[in-house]
Amino acid sequence: MPATGLSVKAQTGIAGFDEVTGGGLPKGRTTLLVGGPGSGKTIFSVQFLAYGAKVCKEPGIFVAFEEAPKRIVANLRGFNWKLEELQRQKLYFMDAQPMPELIQSGNFDLGGLLAALETKAREIGARRIVFDAMDVLLALLPDEAMRRREMHRLHQWLLDHELTALVTAKAGGQELGSPHEQPFGFMQFMVDCSVILNHRVDQGVSQRNLRVQKYRGCSFNEDESPFVIGKDGFDVAMAHTLGRADAEVSFERVSSGVKRLDTMLGGGYYRGACVLITGFPGTAKTTLSGAFAEAACRRGERTMFVSFDSDGSEVVRNLTSVGIQLARYVKSGHLRMISARTITGSAETLLVRIKSLVKQHKARCLVIDPVSALSKAGNELTAHAVAERLIDWSKSAGITLVCTSLLDEVSGPAANASPLQVSTMADTWIHLNYLVQAGERNRGMSIIKSRGTSHSNQVRELILSDKGVTLADIYTAGGEVLMGTLRWQKESAERVTNEVAEVAGKLKRVCLDAEEAVLEVRAKSLKTELVAKQVEKALLVRTTESRKRELSGGRRRMRELRGADVAKPAKPARKRSGNEPKS
C-alpha cells in the first residue's frame, strides 16, 4: 500500500472549504460526501474535478451512476468551469448508470468498472476521481456483505492507484448523526475523510450547511459552515481561524463626512475599521452613512453603498435634501449603489453577493444600510454569524465598513445593544437618539465607543439642513439637556442676559466715576481748607508769642523805669521756707 502522507492535500478550489480542512481533501485517499437530494453533492464534486484539471494539473474522472454525463455537463453549464473544454483531455465523464433492463442472477462484482477505470485513468493520467451517487450502485448489490466487499475492493483499487477520490452518497436527511443506520455506514469507517452537506429551510429561507465529520490525521473545523452555491460554484462561509494572520492595521484616518464628528473622534474613523451607527428609524443613520460615502468619493476612493431599505436612486435623491451630492459620483463610477431589497435569500446568500459585488467594484469603503436587515425572516439564527464574517472579511480586505443598525423602538433604549450584537465587534459605535422635549423631536448623537481613539464623551445635537450635516453643542442647564428650539431659546436668552449685564456694568462704572470725581473735588477743597486753617493757626501762634514778648518786655521796662527792688515773684516764697537758692 503506498504511503501517501495525509498531510498532503488536494486543493478543491472551493472558496472556504480548503480553509475548513486546512488545504483540501486528503490526497491519494478517499472522501465520502454525504447529503440529501439537492444538497449540492454533484456540484461540489464536479467543482473539485474541474479545479484539479484546470489549476492543479490533475486530470479527473467523473463516474456517474445516477445521471447521464451529458445532462450533468449541461446542468452545470451555468458555472464558469469550461467543462466542455476540459473534457477534451483532462476530464472524463463515465456513464455508469445501471441499465434499466438489467436482470440480476447471482453474485457479481465490480470487476468491469475497475477495468474500465483502469484504462481511462491510464489514458488521461487521472489523479482525481469522483463516484457520484454511489448509493445507486450499492442498491444493486444484494446484501450487506457484498456491499462491504465491493466497496473495500474499490477502495483498495483507489489506494493502489493513489487517486484522490470523492464518493458521494444520498442521505435521508435527519439521521445524519448515526452512520450505522445508513446503507453506506461502513463506508464512513473506511474513508479518510467524510463531509456532510445539509440543506434545510427555516421559515421559508433556504439554509445550506457543510460539515466535515471526520478527517484522519488532520485537524479541521468541526462546526457546520454555511455555504451558498453561487455563480462560481460553492462558497463556504469561513470564520476567522486562530491560525490566520491578523489583517494589517492602519493608523490612517478617514473622514466621517461630518467635520465636527471627525474632531470628536480625534480625526475620523480608522481606515479598515468597522463603524456601527445605531438608532431608531429616522434618526439620520442613512444620512450619516451617506456623508461618509460622499467623503470617500471626494477622496477618490471607490465606494459601495448597499441599501436594504430603498432603491439606490432613492437614497441618492433623498440625501440631496441634506446637501449630500452622490449623483455625480455614481455617474463617475466611484460610487456604486446597490439596492439589496431585490436580493432575496438567506443571510449567507446576501453576504456572498455583497462580497462578490465589492470585489467586482474594488471598493475601499462600504456602507451597509442597515445591517440589521440580515436578520430578516428566517435568518435570525445565522444573521449574527454572517455579520461577524462580514466584519471579519472587510477587515481582512482593509475595507472601511460603515453599518447602520436599526433599533427596535419597542424594545426601547434600554436594550441599547444592536440586535445582531455587531456592537461588540464594531470599532466605533455611534448612537443616534431622539430627545422629545417641548413638543419637539431632536436628534442627539453620541459616540458610545471608539477603539483606539480618544473621543468626546459629549452628546451632540445632529442638525440636518440643506447645507449639510452639522453638529451643535447641546445646552445643559441645571442638569437638563436642551436641544432644538429650546436650546436656541436658551441660547438667545443667555445672549440677552449677557447684553443687559454688560450695559448695567457700564452704567455702574459711569456712576462710580462720577462719585469718584465728586469725592476728589471734595478732597481738594478740604485740603485747601486745611491749609487755610494751618496758616491761621500759625498766625495765631505768632501773634500770641509776640504779644507775650511785648508784655514781658514791657514789665521789665516798667520796673526799670520805676526802679523798684528786684525780687522775683516766686523767690520770696521759697526763701521763707529757709532754703538757700542755688544760684
Binding site: A96, M99, I103, N107, F108, G112, A115
Partner: protein, 96 residues
C-alpha cells in the same frame, strides 16, 4: 421468430475470479441443456481488454449479453438462478 433461433451470447468476465468462473460454467451447462448446439459464446475478459468494458459499459462482472435473437438483453451475476434466466431470455419458447 424462427422455431429454432440461434443464440449469440457474450460473457464479460473479470479474469478468473470465482464469480466469473461460476458464471461461465453455469452458462455452459444451461446452454448445453436447453439449446443443444444452437449457440455461440464469446468471452471477454475485462482485465485483458479493459477498453471493451468501457465501450460496452460493462461495469459489473460477470455480465452476460444476449446479442441475438433480439432484443439484446443483459444479465449480471453468476447466472445461478436458472429459472429467472430461462424466463428472461425467452428460452421457454424452446422448452415448450
Amino acid at each position: 421468430m424462427s422455431r429454432n433461433p440461434r443464440f449469440k451470447f457474450r460473457l464479460y468476465v473479470a479474469g478468473d475470479t470465482e464469480n466469473s468462473a461460476r458464471a461461465l460454467s453455469n452458462l455452459r451447462a444451461l446452454c448445453g441443456k436447453l439449446l443443444e448446439n444452437r449457440h455461440e459464446i464469446e468471452i471477454v475478459d475485462v482485465f485483458r481488454e479493459p477498453g471493451r468494458a468501457l465501450e460496452d459499459r460493462v461495469f459489473m462482472t460477470p455480465t452476460l449479453v444476449k446479442l441475438s435473437p433480439a432484443p439484446i438483453q443483459r444479465i449480471i451475476g453468476t447466472l445461478s438462478d436458472t429459472e429467472s434466466i430461462v424466463q428472461a431470455l425467452g428460452f421457454w419458447t424452446l422448452a415448450v
